[in-house]
């Protein structure tokens, strides 16, 4: 991610709005800069972080847009890998040894007969290593001495500029204290990443989706903390996985001496580098959808099958059932959750969620191979259907007819 000082010059204010001065991806000058930097970066494999930073400064020369160029360089380096160089001896142990007998000088004198060169040779001899290798090891544990071992993704100028723009938008969120979003799809990934970045949420259903306010545990108790800015920034690419969304953040930048509004939606020219989960979490879910499609898909039957389109809100967590059945004419709905092969602890949590949901329109399809006794499922509010092999669509539909509301 970009540091605040690199991002700041491209954050602007208009009225009470925070605007982000993105780089034009199709601009010839920026494309050339990006292309130059990519070449420069690929040449660094095997060289040190210090050498890379010097190379960037040389490339910059006296350009006034140096903070932007340094930002582009940081995006490249952040996606690469740096490792400490291999050394003939542990650097700290070497320093302890080499510095033990006080200052030395290039020329000896009466009081300091041993010269620097002589000390180096003597200690190298004692340690039985090469003198040049020993000099190289002396400060090899400094951050600047780390070696580029992998230059990361196969960048194109366009990809670099696009990614830079994403990082710029992320950095605006460092100073945010509250983010509110409207989302209309991709609920599962959205909540999966929320959990991953340890953010808290408050969600309410709205027409076709959810209004979700994001912050952290201490936020409700203090006035506008920016403690979770880094987590909110880290989360932004997850929002970009959704097809249709809007975001509104309140941001406090000391330079502007006031709280600003920062808004973004799905029309922004940004792409996520986060991985979207596959269509189905398990083969059982895929099989179920395929079986339904084969028997009752498209125009046939009274029910339409959709995937993870409803979020059951459970206080500080959510449950997102695998499928929903919607009646084509009267709009009645029932939810379906498939319980396949899972770890006992996962099952326990899942059942806890089902119970606290208290929804009698929620149907559990349990594979008999699952280690769940009928006893454990007794006080589940909706219906529970057991199947030895594949769920029988006819039986499921009968349950849907009974439970839908």
């Amino acid at each position: 991610m970009l540091t605040g000082d690199l991002a700041r010059p491209r954050l602007k204010r208009r009225g009470d709005q925070l605007l982000i001065d993105s780089l034009p991806v199709d601009h010839a000058r920026w494309r050339r800069t990006a292309a130059d930097l990519i070449v420069l970066w690929r040449e660094q494999v095997g060289r040190s972080r210090d050498e890379w930073e010097e190379a960037v400064e040389r490339y910059l020369d006296d350009r006034v847009d140096y903070l932007t160029v340094r930002g582009l360089a940081k995006v490249l380096a952040d996606e690469g890998r740096f490792e400490p160089p291999a050394t003939a001896i542990d650097p700290e142990a070497l320093r302890e040894r080499l510095f033990a007998s006080g200052p030395v000088f290039e020329q000896g004198d009466l009081f300091h007969p041993q010269t620097r060169a002589e000390r180096i040779v003597a200690v190298a001899h004692e340690l039985d290593i090469d003198a040049a290798a020993m000099e190289a090891a002396l400060y090899a544990d400094r951050p600047g001495a780390q070696i580029v071992t992998d230059s990361g993704p196969d960048w194109t100028p366009e990809a670099l500029l696009t990614r830079y723009n994403l990082e710029l938008h992320r950095s605006a969120l460092y100073w945010s204290n509250r983010v509110e979003v409207h989302i209309y799809d991709t609920f599962k990934d959205f909540w999966r990443y929320l959990k991953l970045f340890k953010l808290m949420f408050e969600a309410q259903p709205i027409e076709g989706g959810y209004h979700v306010a994001l912050d952290g545990p201490i936020s409700p108790f203090v006035r506008s903390t920016t403690r979770y800015g880094r987590q909110l920034a880290a989360f932004l690419p997850a929002l970009l996985l959704c097809q249709h969304w809007q975001m509104r953040a309140t941001v406090y930048l000391s330079a502007f001496e006031r709280e600003l509004i920062y808004q973004l939606d799905h029309t922004a020219a940004l792409t996520s580098h986060f991985v979207r989960s596959g269509d189905f979490d398990s083969q059982m879910e895929a099989d179920f959808a395929a079986a339904f499609q084969e028997k009752l898909g498209d125009e046939r039957g009274q029910w339409r099958l959709t995937r993870e389109d409803e979020v059951v809100l459970l206080g500080d967590t959510v449950m997102i059932p695998d499928f929903a059945f919607t009646h084509k004419t009267d709009g009645r709905r029932a939810l379906v959750e498939i319980v396949g092969f899972w770890h006992p602890e996962y099952l326990r949590r899942k059942l806890e969620k089902v119970r606290s949901a208290g929804r009698d329109d929620l149907i559990l399809l349990v594979y008999e191979s699952v280690n769940l006794s009928a006893d454990q499922l007794r006080d589940v509010p909706g219906e529970v259907l057991y199947f030895a092999g594949k769920p029988v669509i006819k039986q499921v539909l009968a349950a849907v007819e009974r439970c839908a509301r």
């Binding site: 006296d62 140096y66 510095f99 030395v104 620097r116 340890k198 500080d316």
Partner: protein, 453 residues
């Protein structure tokens, strides 16, 4: 299945009751937020009795041996006793140099519970690390940007305390804030609010008055407890007198250096003259120059010229030669070499094979270096900005400053603490500056206040 009993847990600086429905309020201070009953961590010791499974405390006993040969002063013992009497909550106010760290060590040892110490700077963090490790004879954790190791006794900075407390706040029964007058700052007070630690100790020489805490956000009394013990300078010992003299050494740039310097200075000074930056922006001139450099080519050129000048002056041949001469002359004394340029520190370290101490040096190596220097095993150390105000720098007879910073306060406090006379011989501070360069101006700005010593 039996319904699970309600559980009280620690979550990111808050206390949360699981299961309990909205219809069954547990009473203040809990509030119904995001589907759970919640409150701030700091309410933990004063919560009403609730029928819950309490998973909050993860603190532990220390059972370590105190290994500190210092005999406590009366006032130090009184301070600890007063704090204990007050239920191990509250602040102790003692003048600088009166041994606040020592008081804290006594308090930790007597409380015998896992402790988090919050210090204002990384330098002070390192000092606490060394002092606690020596006195308690256990391994000490450090948590800041560079290292993150959480142990039963851990030291962190105000800056990193929020992250640490959000994750591990319930592992510490005692929470100590060094220089507690910093606590009212907006994001720093939050840390005390997030912690469930029942024992709290604030240390400072200057307790802020109500007006300074005036934006109404955090009151130290509320977060830490009241002042439990206070002593003024006049109550203790007399002021220490200066124990060193200053010698200034002027060196010449080489012809090449002079040529480069003049060329860069012309660019830099030219821009300043044309723009009257000092007149229009006063002390903020450098920030303004940096701002302008992002869109004006002349400003960018001036900023680059300034960087080149500073780099040239930090490592110029004359200074390195003068340093070599001073090292040779004073080889039997303990010598501290200061330069504000990190690169120059490592150049000197390599050149003379003496230890370097910078912000890159990790806590354990730093502690080892300073202790070896104190024992006289290392006659010389070269360092950048890290040996600062309030740090336990070992005593030295000779300080050599190459360049140095323009901050008069830092300069005086840094050296006043380092240099001690032995017998009748005063310690010496050598200041090495380049003749006819900005060094002279920078040194001049330091002089008037330096005389106040």
């Amino acid at each position: 299945m039996q319904p699970m009993s309600d559980t009280l847990s620690f979550q990111g600086g808050t206390l949360v009751i699981s299961q309990r429905p909205q219809s069954d309020p547990p009473g203040a201070p809990f509030q119904w937020i995001k589907g759970r009953w919640r409150c701030e961590g700091y309410h933990y010791p004063s919560l009403p009795r609730l029928d819950l499974r309490d998973t909050v405390p993860r603190w532990q006993r220390l059972d370590c041996m105190l290994d500190d040969t210092h005999q406590p002063h009366d006032y130090q013992q009184e301070a600890v006793a007063a704090w204990e009497q007050a239920g191990r909550r509250g602040s102790i106010v003692l003048p600088t140099g009166a041994g606040k760290t020592f008081v804290a060590i006594q308090a930790i040892h007597r409380a015998n519970r896992s402790t988090l110490v919050v210090a204002p700077t990384i330098d002070l963090l390192h000092q606490w690390y060394a002092r606690l490790g020596n006195a308690l004879n256990i391994e000490i954790g450090v948590y800041y940007g560079g290292e993150k190791i959480v142990l039963p006794v851990t030291v962190t900075t105000y800056h990193s305390a929020g992250d640490l407390i959000a994750r591990h706040g319930n592992q510490f029964k005692l929470l100590i804030f060094d220089e507690v007058h910093h606590l009212p700052a907006p994001s720093w007070g939050e840390t005390a609010l997030m912690s469930p630690s029942p024992f709290r100790l604030g240390l400072t020489a200057t307790y802020p008055d109500d007006e300074e805490m005036g934006d109404g956000r955090w009151q130290i009394d509320e977060l830490i407890g009241p002042i439990v013990y206070q002593k003024r300078v006049s109550d203790l010992v007399g002021k220490r007198l200066a124990e060193y003299r200053t010698e200034r050494i002027r060196i010449n740039l080489t012809d090449d250096e002079r040529q480069q310097y003049e060329a860069d200075f012309a660019i830099y000074a030219g821009f300043f003259r044309a723009r009257h930056l000092r007149e229009t922006h006063g002390a903020g001139w450098l920030r303004e120059l940096t701002r302008l450099s992002a869109f004006e080519r002349e400003a960018r050129a001036a900023l680059l010229a300034r960087h080149r000048i500073l780099r040239l002056l930090a490592g110029c041949a004359g200074k390195l030669a003068a340093l070599e001469k001073l090292l040779r002359e004073n080889i039997h004394e303990q010598i501290l070499v200061f330069t504000e340029s990190n690169d120059t520190v490592y150049t000197i370290s390599r050149r003379h094979l003496i230890p370097a101490l910078t912000h890159e040096t990790k806590a354990a190596e730093r502690k080892r270096l300073l202790e070896a220097f104190r024992r006289g095993e290392y006659p010389a150390i070269v360092t950048s900005k890290v040996l600062n105000e309030g740090i336990d720098v070992p005593e030295a007879k000779i300080a050599i400053v190459l360049g140095g910073t323009s901050s008069a306060r830092e300069y005086i406090q840094r050296l006043g603490r380092v240099l001690r006379k032995t017998g009748s011989r005063k310690a010496v501070l050598y200041e090495v500056i380049a003749r006819d360069t900005v060094d002279e101006g920078r040194a001049q700005r330091r002089r008037p206040k330096a005389r106040a010593l």
